[in-house]
C-alpha cells in the first residue's frame, strides 16, 4: 500500500486542478468498479453494486490538495500568488512548488530570506528562474501544488497532501478488498474540498445517498506543547463526533463504534474545534443525509510534511470493510 500512497501524495492536484490525480486514481480503480464516471465539477465516482436490499452509501475522500494560484507576473518575471485553500503562511518560504506541466519554482520572501520577519502572503513570491517577463507571463492563472518526496519511516510515513490523498489510498484499498456487500456503494473521489466542500456538495446531490461517510485527516494532538485534544497517532481510526462545522449523525457515529468493537479494531473518539470535511456538505444534501466521518490522526496538517501511522491507515480500511460487509440499521 505504501507504493500507492507514494504515487498519490506526490501527484499534482490543487483544488480546481485535479485532472492529473484523477487520472492516477482512475487507473487504479477502473478494473474494480461496476460503473465509473466523472461529473460536472470533476468528481470521480465509482460504483460497486451490492447484492441486494442494502443502503445506498456514499463514501468520500477528496483528491485536491491546498496550493497557490499565480495572480500576477511582475515586469521581471517573478510571480505573485493567492492561496488555494487554507495555506499556513509559515510553511511557504523556501519551499518548492510545481506547476501542472512539471515546472518547479521556489517560494521566496521580499528583501531576501535573511531579512524575513513575520511571514505575510503579500510579501512572498515564486521564482521559476525566468530571465524576463515574457518567459513567465503565461503563468498567470495557473495553480501550483507543493513538492515533497514521500518518506517511509516504518510504522509512520511522511508526505505532503496526506490531506486527503491518504484517504484516497484507503478508499482504493477498500475497493480492492471489498468482497460481498448488500449495499450500493459510491466511492466518490471529490474535488475542491479545500475551497469549500464544493465537489462533495454537488456529488451528494447527484448521488442522493441514504447515508454518507467521509474519510479525511484530523489533527493529532500528541506532539510537544500541543493543544489538548483527544486524537493521537497510532491509537486507531478516529470516529468523528464533532468538528468545526459539523456534528456527526449519532446513528452513524454509533454504527462505526459498534462495528469497531465487534471487529476488535481500536478506535478513538474525535472532537475537533476547527476545520471540517466533506461530510458536512453530504449532511445537507436535498432533504438531509445521515453523515459521519472516519478520520486518520495526522501530525503537521496543512504543512508540506504531514505524518500518519500505518496501523491507523490499515485499521481504517478494516473498519470500512467491516461496515460495508453487513446490513445497516440506523
Amino acid at each position: 500500500m505504501k507504493d500507492l500512497i507514494k504515487k498519490l501524495t506526490e501527484a499534482y492536484g490543487p483544488s480546481g486542478h485535479e485532472e492529473q490525480i484523477r487520472e492516477i486514481i482512475r487507473g487504479e480503480i477502473a478494473p474494480l468498479a461496476d460503473d465509473l464516471r466523472v461529473d460536472t465539477l470533476g468528481n470521480l465516482i465509482a460504483l460497486k453494486k451490492g447484492t441486494d436490499g442494502g443502503k445506498k452509501i456514499m463514501l468520500a475522500a477528496h483528491m485536491d490538495e491546498i496550493g497557490l494560484i499565480i495572480s500576477y507576473v511582475d515586469e521581471k518575471g517573478f510571480l505573485r500568488f493567492q492561496p488555494v485553500g487554507g495555506i499556513n503562511v509559515m510553511t511557504l518560504s523556501g519551499g518548492r512548488v510545481q506547476f501542472a506541466d512539471g515546472t518547479v519554482g521556489v517560494v521566496a520572501p521580499e528583501k531576501g530570506p535573511e531579512f524575513q520577519k513575520e511571514p505575510e502572503l503579500s510579501k512572498l513570491y515564486i521564482d521559476i528562474g525566468a530571465t524576463n517577463h515574457d518567459e513567465a507571463k503565461d503563468r498567470l492563472g495557473q495553480a501550483v501544488g507543493f513538492v515533497r518526496p514521500f518518506a517511509d519511516l516504518g510504522k509512520r510515513i511522511v508526505a505532503k497532501a496526506f490531506d486527503d490523498r491518504i484517504s484516497c489510498a484507503i478508499l482504493i484499498q477498500v475497493l480492492r478488498q471489498l468482497g460481498h456487500t448488500p449495499h450500493e456503494v459510491y466511492f466518490v473521489f471529490s474535488v475542491q474540498e479545500e475551497v469549500g466542500l464544493r465537489g462533495a456538495h454537488t456529488s451528494a446531490y447527484g448521488v442522493a445517498p441514504d447515508l454518507g461517510i467521509a474519510v479525511d485527516i484530523t489533527i493529532a494532538a500528541d506532539t510537544p506543547e500541543a493543544r489538548k485534544l483527544a486524537m493521537k497517532l497510532g491509537a486507531g481510526p478516529c470516529i468523528k463526533v464533532m468538528d468545526g462545522r459539523m456534528l456527526a449523525h449519532p446513528g452513524i457515529k454509533d454504527l462505526l463504534i459498534n462495528t469497531a468493537k465487534a471487529a476488535s479494531i481500536p478506535y478513538q473518539l474525535e472532537v475537533l474545534d476547527r476545520g471540517t470535511t466533506d461530510a458536512a456538505a453530504i449532511q445537507l444534501a436535498r432533504s438531509g443525509v445521515p453523515a459521519g466521518c472516519i478520520s486518520i490522526a495526522c501530525r503537521y496538517a496543512h504543512t508540506q510534511s504531514e505524518m500518519v501511522d500505518m496501523d491507523d491507515v490499515e485499521n481504517v480500511v478494516k473498519l470500512l470493510l467491516a461496515v460495508l460487509e453487513k446490513p445497516i440499521d440506523l
Partner: protein, 345 residues
C-alpha cells in the same frame, strides 16, 4: 442610454424593483417570456434557433447595488443607518443619499474641520456614530417621512467623461448595472442556444438570487456578467491591479467563490482571439460573483464569469470605459454563437 438609466436607478439588495422594471420594459418585445420569482429575480427566456436539442444557457447579472437601511430615528430628527452589502465606512462621510419609497434626499453628516483637532481627523468614524440628515427637526417629524427599515442608495448621477478614446463614464452601481445592460443587449440577436437571462437579486448579501434562479433554470452552462475591481491607479509597488481600464473584458479563472470551468475559459479566450476582441485575465483569488452560487446548483453547472473593469466599486461613484463594455457584449454574442459547436458536454 440604458446603462445610464440603470446606473441612476435605485436598487439596494432587497429593493430592486426599479431596476427590474427598467429591464423588463427594455426586454418585453425581445424575449419569449418574462417572470419573477420569490427572491425578486427577473428571468427572461429567449428561445434559440436551429436544430434541437439545444443547450440551455444561463447568463446572469445582478440587479442589486450596495446601499443602506435606516435603523434608528433620533430625537433630533436625524437617522441612524447601516449598510446593506459591503461598503467601506470611510467612504460615507459627507455623501448624499436618497432614502425610502419617496426617494427623499439626505446627507450623511460630517464634522466641520474648524471644530475638530488634527488627531481626531486621523481616525475613522464608525458607522454607528454617523447620521443622516433629511432636514427633519424632531423625531415625530422624521417618523412622518421615513420608517425604520427604509432602504437608501447613493445619490449619484451618471455622466459621460469623454466621448473619445477610452469613452469613460462615471456613475454609481456599475457593479453590476453594466452587467445588466450587457445582458439586455444580448437579447438582440438569435442564437443556436436557449437563452435564460437571469437578472438576479441580492448578490451583494450572499449570491442569493442567483442560487434559486439556477435551481429553477437548470442550465447546461452559465455565464455571470459583472462589473469588477479595477485597481489600476499608480502604486509604489508592482502589484496586480486585478484588472485594467480599457484593456477589455476580464475573464475569471478563479475567485473566492468558484474555480471557472476550464472549457469555458478556453472558449472565451479562443473566441476573443479569433475575433480580435481585446480581453484580459482577471487576477485570480479575490472577490466573488453569482457564478459562485450557480456552479454549485444541484449536481453542478459548468460556469464562468466575465466582467467590465470598474474603478472604485462599492463606492458612491465609479468609472468605466464604454470600450470595455462594447467588447464584453461582442465577446458574449460571439461566444454564445460558437458555444454549441465547441461545447463537448
Amino acid at each position: 442610454m440604458l446603462l445610464e438609466k440603470l446606473s441612476n436607478a435605485f436598487g439596494p439588495s432587497g429593493c430592486e424593483h426599479e431596476v427590474r422594471s427598467l429591464v423588463a420594459q427594455a426586454l418585453r418585445e425581445k424575449v419569449d417570456d418574462l417572470q419573477s420569482d420569490a427572491l425578486g429575480n427577473l428571468i427572461a427566456f429567449k428561445k434559440g434557433v436551429g436544430p434541437e436539442p439545444r443547450l440551455k444557457v444561463m447568463v446572469d447579472a445582478h440587479t442589486d447595488e450596495v446601499g443602506f437601511m435606516v435603523t434608528r430615528i433620533d430625537k433630533n430628527g436625524s437617522l441612524g443607518f447601516r449598510t446593506v452589502g459591503g461598503i467601506d465606512s470611510r467612504l460615507l462621510l459627507a455623501k448624499r443619499i436618497v432614502i425610502g419609497p419617496k426617494r427623499l434626499p439626505g446627507v450623511i453628516l460630517a464634522p466641520p474641520i474648524h471644530l475638530t483637532k488634527p488627531e481626531q481627523r486621523k481616525q475613522v468614524i464608525e458607522i454607528d456614530q454617523l447620521a443622516i440628515d433629511i432636514g427633519a427637526t424632531s423625531q415625530d417629524e422624521a417618523k412622518e417621512l421615513v420608517q425604520i427599515g427604509d432602504y437608501g442608495a447613493f445619490d449619484t448621477r451618471f455622466q459621460a467623461l469623454t466621448g473619445e478614446g477610452l469613452r469613460t463614464v462615471k456613475g454609481k452601481a456599475f457593479d453590476d448595472r453594466v452587467g445588466c445592460a450587457a445582458a439586455v443587449a444580448l437579447a438582440d440577436g438569435d442564437y443556436p442556444i436557449d437563452l435564460y437571462l437571469s437578472f438576479s437579486a441580492q448578490e451583494e448579501v450572499g449570491l442569493r438570487g442567483a442560487r434559486v434562479a439556477a435551481f429553477r433554470i437548470e442550465p447546461d452552462v452559465a455565464f455571470a456578467l459583472e462589473g469588477t475591481i479595477c485597481d489600476d491607479t499608480p502604486k509604489q509597488q508592482d502589484v496586480s491591479p486585478t484588472t485594467r481600464l480599457g484593456m477589455g473584458p476580464a475573464i475569471y479563472v478563479m475567485d473566492r467563490t468558484f474555480v471557472a470551468d476550464k472549457r469555458l475559459v478556453r472558449l472565451l479566450i479562443e473566441t476573443a482571439e479569433e475575433s480580435k476582441i481585446l480581453y484580459q485575465l482577471r487576477q485570480p483569488g479575490v472577490g466573488g460573483t453569482d457564478a459562485g452560487a450557480i456552479h454549485l446548483s444541484k449536481a453542478g453547472v459548468p460556469s464562468v464569469a466575465v466582467a467590465v473593469p470598474c474603478r472604485y466599486i462599492h463606492a458612491p461613484v465609479g468609472v468605466l470605459s464604454l470600450n470595455d463594455y462594447d467588447n464584453l457584449v461582442t465577446l458574449m454574442r460571439k461566444t454564445l454563437q460558437a458555444l454549441p459547436e465547441k461545447w463537448a458536454a
